[in-house]
C-alpha cells in the first residue's frame, strides 16, 4: 500500500501567542512549532498500515522552511520519503488553496490511501482533507477512530456525536481524516533519527505543479485577529493557596450551596 500522510506544523501548544502589529495573524517569529496533534495520529496510523500490509509511507507537508523539522520527525519515525511543498505563493493559503496544492502534488503519486488530521490547531478549518478528496476524486470519511483494510476496500470506524460510532466501507483509493486518540503514537528511536538523514525530501514549488497564483485565489480572507471580548462575569480569587482555598470554600458553601 502506498499511503500519504499530510502533516501540518502549528505553533507549539504551550507557546505564548502574540498578535502581529497589524492584528491580522500571530507573530510567528518568536515561537516554536510542532506537528498538529491529530496529524501525529494520522502518521502513526499510516506507519502501522504499512507495517501490516507492506508498502510505503510518503509524508506531505506544505509550509515554509521550518516545516522541514516536522518532516524530519516523521521520517525518523519510519516514513520513507517526503514532499515539502514550499513556495512564497503558498503563504497564507485558505483551506481550498492548501488542498488544491496538495491534491495536485499527490496526483502523480497515485496513493492507495491519504490520511490527514481532522482539524488544524491554528486555522481550525476542518476542511482541507475533505476538499482534497473532492479534488482528487476519492471517496472519504472523517473523524476516523479505526481502520481495517480488506483487500481493495477499507472499513473505518467514524466517530459521531455523544459517544456514537458507525462503521463505513469504501473502495480504495480513499482519503480519511483521523481523530486524535485512534492509536498510541510512537516516538522516534535514535536509529530512526540516524536513518532519516538519508531519506529523500523533495521540495515542490508552484511552477513544478503547473499552477499559477490565480489558481490558489482564496475563497475567504481573515481581516482581523483579536483576543475575544470577555463576556463572562467570572469572579477571580487571588492570594496564597491557603487563602484562595478558604475563599472558595466560603463561596461553595454559602453561594453555590454545594457543601
Amino acid at each position: 500500500m502506498k499511503i500519504v500522510a499530510c502533516l501540518k506544523q502549528v505553533p507549539a501548544r504551550d507557546s505564548l501567542l502574540r498578535l502581529n502589529p497589524a492584528g491580522t495573524w500571530i507573530q510567528e517569529s518568536d515561537i516554536s512549532f510542532e506537528v498538529n496533534e491529530p496529524d501525529i495520529f494520522a502518521l502513526e496510523e499510516a506507519l502501522r498500515l504499512k507495517e501490516a500490509q507492506g508498502g510505503e509511507v510518503v509524508v506531505c507537508s506544505l509550509g515554509p522552511a521550518r516545516a522541514q523539522q516536522a518532516i524530519k520527525e516523521a521520517l525518523a519515525k519510519g516514513a520513507d520519503r517526503a514532499l515539502h511543498l514550499d513556495d512564497p505563493a503558498f503563504a497564507g493559503l485558505d483551506a481550498f488553496g492548501t488542498a488544491r496544492v496538495m491534491a495536485r502534488a499527490l496526483e502523480a503519486e497515485k496513493p492507495d490511501l491519504v490520511v490527514t488530521g481532522l482539524q488544524s490547531e491554528d486555522f481550525g478549518f476542518a476542511q482541507t482533507g475533505v476538499i482534497m478528496a473532492e479534488l482528487m476524486g476519492l471517496p472519504h470519511s472523517t473523524i476516523i477512530m479505526q481502520i481495517e483494510v480488506q483487500g481493495g476496500s477499507i472499513k473505518v470506524k467514524r466517530e459521531l456525536e455523544a459517544g456514537w460510532f458507525q462503521w463505513i466501507e469504501m473502495p480504495l483509493p480513499a482519503l480519511l481524516t483521523i481523530q486524535s486518540g485512534i492509536n498510541k503514537p510512537r516516538y522516534a528511536t535514535l536509529k530512526g533519527i540516524m536513518s532519516a538523514k538519508t531519506k529523500p525530501i523533495r521540495k515542490v514549488g508552484l511552477a513544478d505543479l503547473g499552477l499559477t497564483a490565480g489558481d490558489l485565489a482564496p475563497q475567504q480572507k481573515i481581516t482581523r485577529v483579536y483576543v475575544p471580548e470577555k463576556r463572562s462575569k467570572t469572579e477571580f480569587f487571588e492570594g496564597s493557596g491557603k487563602e484562595i482555598a478558604a475563599k472558595l470554600v466560603d463561596k461553595l458553601k454559602n453561594e453555590a450551596r454545594v457543601l
Binding site: P11, I26, A95, A99, E121, G124, A126, Q127, T128, V130, I131, E134, L135, P139, T142, I143, E159, E161, A162, G163, W164, F165, Q166, W167, I168, E169, M170, P171, S180, G181, A217, P218, Q219, Q220, I222, T223, R224, V225, Y226, V227, P228, K230, R231, K233, T234, E235, F236, F237, E238, G241, I244, A245, A246, L248, V249, K251, K253, A256, V258, L259
Partner: protein, 330 residues
C-alpha cells in the same frame, strides 16, 4: 443571484436534529439582515414527516430533496444532491450547523461548487453592507473576522450554541413543502454506511452527578489524577476528564465530557487544567457553577467560569481539599 438563504436541515431516522433549529434561527436572522428569504432544505427518502415538522417555521418554503440513494447519509449522496439544488437555486448563503455530518460533506460540496465555506462560526455582523463572520482560531485563544472573497453562493456553518433554538420564528401558516427528486444514482455513492452504535461499556452516567471534578492535560501525568480524585471525594462528586486524558487511557472513556463524550449539567463543575476548547465546553456549559483552575489567564474555560483561579493547580488543589474537609467536619 437572489437573496435566498438556504438552510440545511439535518434529520436522523426521520426526526429533525436539534442543531437544525439553531441553523434555522441563524438563517432567519441573516435573511432579515440582507432582506432575503429562508428556504429550508432537507435530504433523504420519504421525507413527508420531517418536512412537515419543519414547515412550522417562518420560511418561504421547505425543499424536500428525495432519492433512494439518500435513504442513509453519505457524503457523496448529500454533496451531489445539495450541489444540484444550490446550482439551480443560486442562494446567496447556504447556512449549516457545524455538526459532524456537516463537517463530513460541506467542504466537499463547497469544492464541487467552487465556492467558499466559512466553517464553525460564532456569529456575524454587518459592516459596510457586507457580512463579516467571526470564528475561533488557535483553539479559541483568538477570534478572527473572516469575509468571503469570491462570488456567492457562500457556505457558512455555525458552532453549536451560537444561535438559540428558541429564537426560531414560527410562521403564521405552514410553509409550503416542495418535493423534488435528486439525480443521484446508486453507483455515485461510494461509501456503504453501517448501523450507528455505542460502545457497550458505559459504566458511569455523569449526567446525573451533582458535582464533577474534571481534569485536563494540565494534570501532566497519570499518577497526578489521584489529586483530582481526592478533591472529588472531598466534595462527594464524580471524576470526569477532557478528551486527551481519556485518549491517553489515564481515565476510562466513559469519563469523557464534551461533544464526543457526555453532556453534563451538575451543580458544580470543577475544571482543573482544562483549556476549555469548544468541544469540551458544549459538554459542560450547562453546569450551574463552574470553578476553573488554570495557569493561563487567557484560557477559554474562564469564559464559562463562575469562579476562577489563575494559577498552578498543584498549589491550589491540596489546600482546597483540606479546607473542604474542615468545612465538612465543622
Amino acid at each position: 443571484m437572489n437573496n435566498e438563504i438556504l438552510v440545511f436541515a439535518e434529520q436522523q431516522g426521520g426526526k429533525i436534529t436539534r442543531p437544525t433549529w439553531e441553523a434555522i434561527a441563524a438563517g432567519q436572522k441573516i435573511a432579515e439582515e440582507i432582506g432575503g428569504s429562508v428556504t429550508v432544505a432537507l435530504l433523504g427518502n420519504n421525507l413527508s414527516t420531517p418536512a412537515s415538522e419543519l414547515a412550522v417555521v417562518e420560511a418561504e418554503g421547505v425543499l424536500a430533496v428525495e432519492s433512494p440513494s439518500l435513504a442513509e447519509y453519505t457524503p457523496d449522496g448529500y454533496a451531489l444532491a445539495l450541489a444540484e439544488a444550490i446550482r439551480s437555486r443560486q442562494p446567496h448563503y447556504a447556512v449549516f450547523s457545524h455538526t459532524y455530518q456537516v463537517r463530513d460533506f460541506a467542504p466537499k460540496l463547497a469544492a464541487a461548487l467552487g465556492v467558499g465555506f466559512i466553517s464553525d462560526c460564532l456569529s456575524y455582523r454587518k459592516q459596510d453592507g457586507r457580512l463579516v463572520f467571526v470564528r475561533q482560531v488557535f483553539q479559541g485563544k483568538f477570534n478572527a473576522d473572516v469575509e468571503f472573497t469570491g462570488e456567492p453562493p457562500h457556505l457558512v456553518s455555525f458552532q453549536a450554541g451560537s444561535f438559540r433554538e428558541d429564537a426560531v420564528k414560527r410562521g403564521v401558516a405552514a410553509a409550503p413543502v416542495t418535493t423534488v427528486t435528486a439525480a443521484v444514482a446508486a453507483e455515485q455513492v461510494r461509501a456503504r454506511p453501517g448501523e450507528r452504535f455505542r460502545e457497550a461499556k458505559q459504566a458511569v452516567d455523569l449526567t446525573q452527578a451533582e458535582i464533577i471534578v474534571a481534569v485536563g492535560r494540565g494534570i501532566k501525568a497519570p499518577e497526578n489524577v489521584d489529586l483530582a480524585r481526592k478533591l472529588a471525594e472531598a466534595l462527594g462528586g464524580e471524576i470526569g476528564a477532557s478528551r486527551p486524558i481519556c485518549d491517553g487511557g489515564w481515565l476510562p472513556m466513559d469519563r469523557q465530557i464534551g461533544s464526543s463524550g457526555q453532556t453534563v449539567a451538575p451543580k458544580l463543575y470543577v475544571a482543573l487544567g482544562i483549556s476549555g476548547a469548544i468541544q469540551h465546553q458544549v459538554g459542560m456549559k450547562g453546569s450551574r457553577n463552574v470553578l476553573a483552575v488554570n495557569k493561563d489567564r487567557e484560557a477559554p474555560i474562564f469564559e464559562v467560569a463562575t469562579y476562577g483561579v489563575v494559577g498552578d493547580l498543584f498549589e491550589i488543589v491540596p489546600p482546597l481539599i483540606e479546607e473542604i474537609q474542615k468545612a465538612k467536619a465543622g
